[in-house]
C-alpha cells in the first residue's frame, strides 16, 4: 500500500486510541491508577520521539532517557534559580534538550549501528553522572524539587494526553511531508539517498534534534507532575523500557510506541500486584518480537487484517 495511505491509517488509529484513552478517567477514578496512566502517557511521548529517530530514520540512539532527564533538569533548574513560570520552564527544558540533541546529532553523523549505540550510551551515562555529581547545583541523587503545577490527577492525565496528541500530530505532519520520505530513505539506504540528492547531514541532524526536543518536552512535563527531578530519569534501564515499548508496539509506525507504552506500563503495574515478573516478561517479549515479529504488535494486527500479497510474476 502507498506510504501515504499507510501513514494516514496509522494516524487515524492513533487518534481513535487517544479518544478511547481520554474516556478512561470516566470509569477509573483511583488516584494510583490515574498516576499509572500519566506515566504511561509520559513514556508514550518518549517512545514516539525515539521512534522518529530509530524507527523512521534508522538511527539507534541509546540516549532517549538522558534527553528526558535534560529536559526535566532544564525546567527544574530554571524554576529553582530563576523562578520562571511553568510554561517558560517547559520551553526551556524542551529547548535545552533539542539544542544538545542538535550538537550530539552533528557529532555522531558518521557513526552507524553499534558505534552509534555505544556513543549515545556513553553520552547518556556521562550526562547522568554529571547530574548526579553536581551536588551543589542539582542536589545530586537527593533530587531537585520543583513547584507543582496542577493538583488534580485527572487534569494531569488530560494535560499529558494533550501533549501526546500534540506530539503525534507534529510527527504526522512531519512524516507526511517530504521530510518523511527523506528520513525513511536515509534509514533504508543512506548512499542511495545521497545519490538521489537528499541532504543527509541536514536531515539526520534534524531528526536527532527534533527527537531530543520531544524527549525533553516529555521530561520537562514530567518534572512538574512529579514535583521532583532526580538523575534516575536518565538511567539506562529507562531507555531499556522505551526501547522495549517501541519494539513490542511496532517500530516505524506512528501508533506502535503509543500502544507499546500503555500496554507495557499498565500491564507492568497490574502484574506488580499479582507477582511482579512483569519486567522479565517484557524483556522476553522484546527478544521474541525482535527475533520473530520485527513490525511489532501493530504489524501483526495489520497483517492479520489484510489479505496476503504475493510476489508479482
Amino acid at each position: 500500500m502507498s506510504g501515504d495511505i499507510r501513514l494516514r491509517r496509522e494516524f487515524i488509529a492513533t487518534a481513535l486510541l487517544l479518544v478511547l484513552l481520554a474516556l478512561l478517567p470516566l470509569v477509573q477514578r483511583d488516584v494510583y491508577w490515574l498516576g499509572v496512566l500519566v506515566v504511561s502517557a509520559y513514556f508514550a511521548i518518549l517512545a514516539s520521539s525515539w521512534n522518529l529517530l530509530a524507527g523512521f530514520t534508522g538511527q539507534f540512539s541509546l540516549a532517549p532517557a538522558a534527553f528526558a532527564m535534560i529536559g526535566a533538569y532544564g525546567a527544574a533548574l530554571s524554576a529553582t534559580y530563576y523562578s520562571v513560570p511553568p510554561i517558560l520552564g517547559l520551553i526551556i527544558g524542551t529547548g535545552a534538550a533539542g539544542l544538545i540533541g542538535l550538537v550530539l546529532g552533528r557529532i555522531v553523523m558518521r557513526l552507524k549501528g553499534p558505534y552509534l549505540a555505544l556513543t549515545t550510551l556513553s553520552f547518556a551515562e556521562i550526562a547522568r553522572l554529571v547530574a548526579s555529581n553536581s551536588i551543589n547545583i542539582t542536589r545530586g541523587d537527593l533530587g531537585l524539587p520543583i513547584a507543582g503545577w496542577f493538583n488534580d490527577r485527572v487534569l494531569w492525565f488530560y494535560v499529558f494526553l494533550g501533549a501526546l496528541a500534540f506530539v503525534i500530530c507534529g510527527l504526522y505532519l512531519l512524516l507526511r511531508s517530504k521530510a518523511g520520505l527523506f528520513l525513511e530513505a536515509i534509514r533504508d539506504d543512506e548512499i542511495a539517498a545521497a545519490r538521489s540528492g537528499v541532504r543527509i547531514v541536514f536531515w539526520k541532524t534534524a531528526a536527532f534534534s527534533i527527537s531530543s526536543a520531544a524527549a525533553g518536552f516529555a521530561g520537562a512535563l514530567y518534572a512538574y507532575f512529579a514535583s521532583l527531578v532526580t538523575p534516575e530519569l536518565g538511567l539506562v534501564q529507562q531507555t531499556g523500557l522505551v526501547v522495549s515499548m517501541t519494539v513490542i508496539g511496532g517500530m516505524g509506525s506512528l501508533i506502535g510506541p503509543v500502544v507499546g507504552a500503555f500496554l507495557v506500563y499498565v500491564t507492568s503495574e497490574w502484574l506488580r500486584d499479582v507477582g511482579g515478573w512483569q519486567l522479565v516478561i517484557f524483556a522476553a517479549l522484546v527478544i521474541v518480537f525482535a527475533r520473530l515479529f520485527r513490525t511489532g504488535l501493530w504489524g501483526l494486527v495489520t497483517a492479520a487484517l489484510q489479505p496476503r500479497r504475493g510476489k508479482p510474476a
Partner: protein, 240 residues
C-alpha cells in the same frame, strides 16, 4: 566545443596500487559514451570519483565548466549528475512510488509535479503495475528498472550508468535501451559502463577504453574495438 563534463589528470592510489592514472577526457553535451575495459581497469574507481564517492588524489573534474572535484554525491545530484550503481540500490521498505518521489522531492519538484513525473516514468519503464509494492518485494530486474527510473525524476545533465544491463532479462534490457535511445535523441548525455559489447556497439557512437588505470583508447566505438592495444588488454598478447 564546450564540454559538459571534463576530467583532467585524475589519479587515485590505494596504498601502492595505482587504480586510476592520469585520466583525462571531455564529454560534450548530448554524447552517449561507453566506458569499457577489463576487470580491474579502474572504471569503477573512476566512476566513483566522478560521482563523489571517492576523493581523487590528483586532478580536476568540471561539470558545465564549474569545478566539482570532491563534491558530495548529494551536491552533484543537485547539479544534475545522476549515478546508477552496479549493485542495485533502492529503498526496500518504501513502496515503488515513494522510491521515485524521494529523488523528485529532493531535487526540488513539488508534490504534484513529482507524482506526475513518477507516473510517467513508471509507465515508460513498464513497472506501473507494481507501484504500490514495497521495493524490497520486487524481482531483481524490476529493482534495476526502478533504480534506473530514479535517476530520471528530474532530467539530469549527465547520467552515469554502471553496468545497467548486468544480469537482467532481455525484455528489461530492451526497455532500458529504448529509454536511453529515446532520451539520447532528445539531447541527454550518458556515460555507460558495460561489459556487454553488443549493447555498447549498438548504443554508443564513442567509447573510452581503460586498462590498468590508464585510458588506452578514446575514439569511435568501432575504432576502439579494433585497436590492437584494446584487443590485447581483453584477450592477452597472443590474440592481438
Amino acid at each position: 566545443m564546450s564540454s559538459l563534463l571534463s576530467v583532467e589528470g585524475v589519479t587515485k592510489r590505494f596504498g601502492g596500487l595505482v587504480a586510476v592514472a592520469d585520466v583525462s577526457f571531455d564529454i560534450a553535451p548530448g554524447e552517449l559514451v561507453g566506458l569499457i575495459g577489463p576487470n580491474g581497469s579502474g572504471k569503477t574507481t573512476l566512476l566513483n570519483i566522478m560521482s563523489g564517492h571517492l576523493f581523487a588524489d590528483q586532478g580536476t573534474i568540471r561539470l558545465d565548466g564549474e569545478p566539482c572535484t570532491g563534491f558530495k554525491p548529494q551536491r552533484l545530484a543537485r547539479r544534475g549528475l545522476m549515478r546508477m550503481f552496479q549493485l542495485t540500490r533502492i529503498f526496500p521498505r518504501m513502496n515503488v512510488l515513494d522510491n521515485l518521489l524521494v529523488g523528485g522531492r529532493a531535487l526540488g519538484l513539488h508534490v504534484d509535479e513529482a507524482r506526475e513525473r513518477a507516473d510517467a516514468l513508471l509507465e515508460e519503464l513498464q513497472i506501473a503495475h507494481v507501484r504500490h509494492l514495497d521495493a524490497g518485494q520486487l524481482s531483481g530486474g524490476q529493482m534495476k528498472l526502478l533504480e534506473f527510473g530514479c535517476c530520471f525524476m528530474r532530467t539530469p545533465r549527465l547520467a552515469l550508468l554502471d553496468e545497467p544491463f548486468a544480469a537482467i532479462h532481455p525484455t528489461m534490457k530492451e526497455i532500458m535501451s529504448t529509454f536511453i535511445r529515446a532520451r539520447h535523441a532528445e539531447g541527454q548525455t550518458f556515460v555507460l559502463v558495460s561489459h556487454d559489447m553488443p549493447v555498447i556497439v549498438e548504443l554508443c557512437p564513442r567509447s573510452i577504453c581503460m586498462n590498468a588505470g590508464r585510458v588506452l583508447s578514446d575514439d569511435k566505438t568501432s575504432d576502439v574495438l579494433a585497436a590492437p592495444a584494446v584487443i590485447e588488454a581483453y584477450l592477452g598478447g597472443a590474440a592481438a
